[in-house]
Amino acid sequence: MSKAWRNDGYAKVTGKARYTDDLLCMDVLHCVPVYTDFVHAKLHHIHTGKAEKMAGVKRVITHKDILGTAWFGQIFQDYFMLATDTIRCNGDVVALVVAASRQEAIAAAKAVEVVAEELPALTNPLEALDADAILVHQSKGSNLINHHKIRRGAPTAAWQECDTILERDYETAPVEHAYLEPEAALCIPRDDGVMEVHGSMQHPFSTRRFVAAILGTTLANVEVITNPMGGGFGGKDDTAAIVCARAALAAHLCGKPVKITYTREWSMRESYKRHPYHLHYKIGLKGTKIHAVECRIIADGGAYTSVTPWVTWRSTVQCCGVYTVPHVHADVYGVHTNNVFTGAFRGFGSPQVNFAVEQWIDECAAAVKMDPVRFREANMLRQNSVTITNQRLDSHIVSTAQVLDAVVSESDFANKVSACSYGKGEKLYGIGLALVYRGCSLGAEGMDFCSAIINAQFDGSILLDVGIHENGQGAESAMILLLEKHLGVTRERVRYNRPSTSHIPDGGTTVASRGTLMGGGAVMNAIRRLKEIIATALHAENGCAKEDVSFHDDRIWFGADSLSWEEAMKQMYLARTYPFAFGSFAAPRVSWNEETGEGDAYFSYVYSCQAVDLEIDAKTKNVKLLHVWAAHDIGSAVNPQMLKGQIYGGIMQGAGMALWEDLHQQAGCIQAKNFHTYRIPRTTDVPKIHISIIENDDPTSPSGAKGIGEPALELIAPAIANAVYRATGKRINSYPIQPKLKGMTL
C-alpha cells in the first residue's frame, strides 16, 4: 500500500501544530460568553456592575458596545452576536466578560445579572406553521424560513394508475458535529490598523465579513489567518465566525489581543446542529416501477436562518433518491422554533432524505415481491436519464450500476440476505444496503468559484495559494499533489502559503465536498497559465519551438534538452518575466425554478453505494456492526490514502448518527452537555470496512476529481436501518436507532 502524505503531517504528529488556543501572545486578555437559563424571553436589563468590579475584569460587553451591525447571516441577517431585546434560544449569548485571566473571566460571567420576562417557547417544529403559533421572530410575521417545491408530471391523476401505494413517516434527530477542538479565536489589533484574526473556523472569508461588519470597518481592514483546525464537518461556519467576531470586538474595545476558547459545554450548547427532519412520504408503484411520489418534509431550523434554505434545497433536489419518478409533488419547509439553531453539517440535507428513501425503496421492493437490488436496478437513474428536477444526466458518467454491482458482489449480498434472522434467534443477523447520488459542490445554492496563485521564486521554489480551507481532510496536500502531477515538480519544491484572506480572493467556503473540485479546478487553470508564461519567455533562448516546451521529472524541457527549475527560474528573472500565474475556476452554470422545482440543479453528481451487516443481541439489543462495503465514484483520486480516510471517517460519523448519537432537547434545552452523555463512535465500534474506489474522470472538473467528504457519510444510516430490519423483522423509521431498539420487544 502506498504511503500517505500530507504537508501538515509532521507538525500534527509531533504536537508542533499550533491550533488557535495554542497560540501564545503577550498581554493577551481572555474573554468568555454569558448565557442565560431562558429559551424564549423578552430581555429587559443586563446588569454588569457587579461583574465589572470583580478581580481581573477589564470590561463587560453587551449589544450596546457593538460598533457596526449586530445582525448576521449568510442568507438572512437574523442571528445576533449578542442578544439585543429578545432571547430566542438557550444558546443565545447576552454578554461577554473580558479579564486578565480565563479563570477571572469565568468567575465574573456568573456575576452578570439578566432581567428578562419569560415567554412561552415554540419547540415543536410541527406546530411552527399553525395559525396561532408562537412567533420566534415577531418582525417576520411567520415561522416559515423557506418552502421549496417540486411539481413534476401530474401526481393527482397518477395515483389512479398505481397498483401499490405505501405511506410512511420518518423522523431524524439533531446531531452534534463533535469536532474534537471546541471553537476558539485570537484577535490582535495590529499597528497598521488591521484586525488580525486567528480562529478555529472553516470559512475565513465569511469570518472576515462577520468581523468587518461588527467593527463597522472594511474587508481590507481585517485579515483572517488560517491555523490548523481541530475538525469542522460543516460546523465551524456561522458559530465559529461569531466567536471570532466577538473576540475582535473585545480586542478593539480593549485595544489589546483577546482570546476566546470555548469549553465543550459552551460549544455543545451554542453551536448549530444538523437539522432534525419530519418526513412524510406517499409512494405509488405501477408494476415494479415507481410511478408517483408525494412528500412533505419539515426541517427544524431552530431560532436562526443560517443556511436552512440551502440545506433544505439539497433535500428537495434529492428527495426521491437516485431514481426515476415521472410524477412528483414535493413540499419542503424550513421553519423556526426556539430550539438551538441548525445549519451546515457534512451531508447537508441529504442524510435525512436518504434515510427515508432508501428504506421505502426496500419496502417497495418487498411489496412487489422483488429483490431489493433488482428493484433498484429497475428504477435507478442511468446514463441520459432525466432526474425529478428535469435534468438530463449526460454531462458525466452515471455510475449507479457500477457502484451497486461493486457492493453487491464484494459483500456477497444475495447469500447474506438469505442468512438474515428476521427476529429469530439469540444473535440476530442482518444486512442492508443503500444507493444514492449527490449533486457536486454548491449547485444553485450559491456563488461557486475559486482561485489559485502559483508564484515560482528565483531559486526554483514555488509558493502556492488556493482559496480553499484545510479542514483536516488534506485539502492543501491534494493541491500540492496536483502540482506534482500536472506541473511535473516534486512536492518538496512547493510551499503551501499559510492561507490569509488578504492574499487571495474569496474562494467561498470549503464545504459541500467542493475543496478538491473547485480548488483543484483553480490550480489546474493556474498551472496551464504558468506553463504558457514560462514557455513563451524561455523557448527561443533555449532553442526550441514554444510547443516543444514540457514540464516533467522536476525539470523544464526544451525538446530533448532540459533545465532544472533553479536554472529556469533564474532565466525567467533575467528575462524580467515573473513566473507567476493566477488561475480561477467557476462552476458551470446551474439553473433552478423555485415554482416548479425544475432545473439543472448541479453541474455534476457523484454516485455511491454502501452495504453493512450487523449482529444484534436479542437480550441486550446491542447492535454490533460487522462489515461495511463502500463503493464510491469520486471522479479521479488525487491522494488515495487521504481519500480512504474520508470514507472511513464518513462511515463512522454516519454510523454514530444512525445508531447512538442522541442530542435530544427538553423544552428547548440540549440535554447532552459533553462527551460523557453524547456518545460518538469509539474504536471498539469499528467494523471491517472494505472500500471500492471507482474513477470516472469528470469532464466538468479540470482535475477530473469530484468529492468524497459528504458522499461517505450520507448513506450508511439507511443501510443500517435496512440491516436492522432484516435482523429483527422490525422497521425503525427514526434515528438514533439503538435507543429505539432498547425500548422494543424483539
Partner: protein, 162 residues
Amino acid sequence: MNTMIVNREKITVPPAWEKRTLLDFLREYLHLTGNKNGCGIGVCGACTVLVDEVPRRSCITKVETVLGKQVLTIEGMEQNDGSLHPLQQAFLDAGAVQCGFCTPGMVLTSHALLLRNPNPTEEEVKQALKGNLCRCTGYVQIFDAVMKGAEFYRKKEGKTDE
C-alpha cells in the same frame, strides 16, 4: 518534593500550580501545547500524557498527584536528533492523521500499549484506544499505524519481526 520529570527534564513546580490540572500546567506554564483540551472531563483522550508510562487524562489530573513522577508528552516522543519516533512515522505513513487534534493523545496511548505489549492483536489495539476519541478518521488507519509501529517495539525488545 515539588519537582517532576517532564520529557526527561527535571521541572520545579511553583506552589501555585500544585492544585491546578496537569494539562493547564503543561500548556500554560511549560508551553507544551501539543496536549489538547477536547472535553475537560477526561472522556475524549486528547489531553492524554504518560505518567510513569501509563496513560493519564491530564485535564482531570492534579499536578500534586504527579510530583516525583515521570511525565511524557507528545513533545518528548521525538528522537534526540529531531527525527520522528517510528510510531509517529507510522501514523503519517498509514494516513492516520486528519485534523490532528486527537493525534498526540492517540500516539501516546499507543506508545504506552506497545511498551507493555509490542505484539498486540487488532482487538487489543481497539481496547487500548477505546478512551481516545477521533471524529475524522473512523479509526481504521490509526489501527494500521499502531500495528505497523509495533514492529519497532518488537525489534527493540530483540525479538524477531514475526
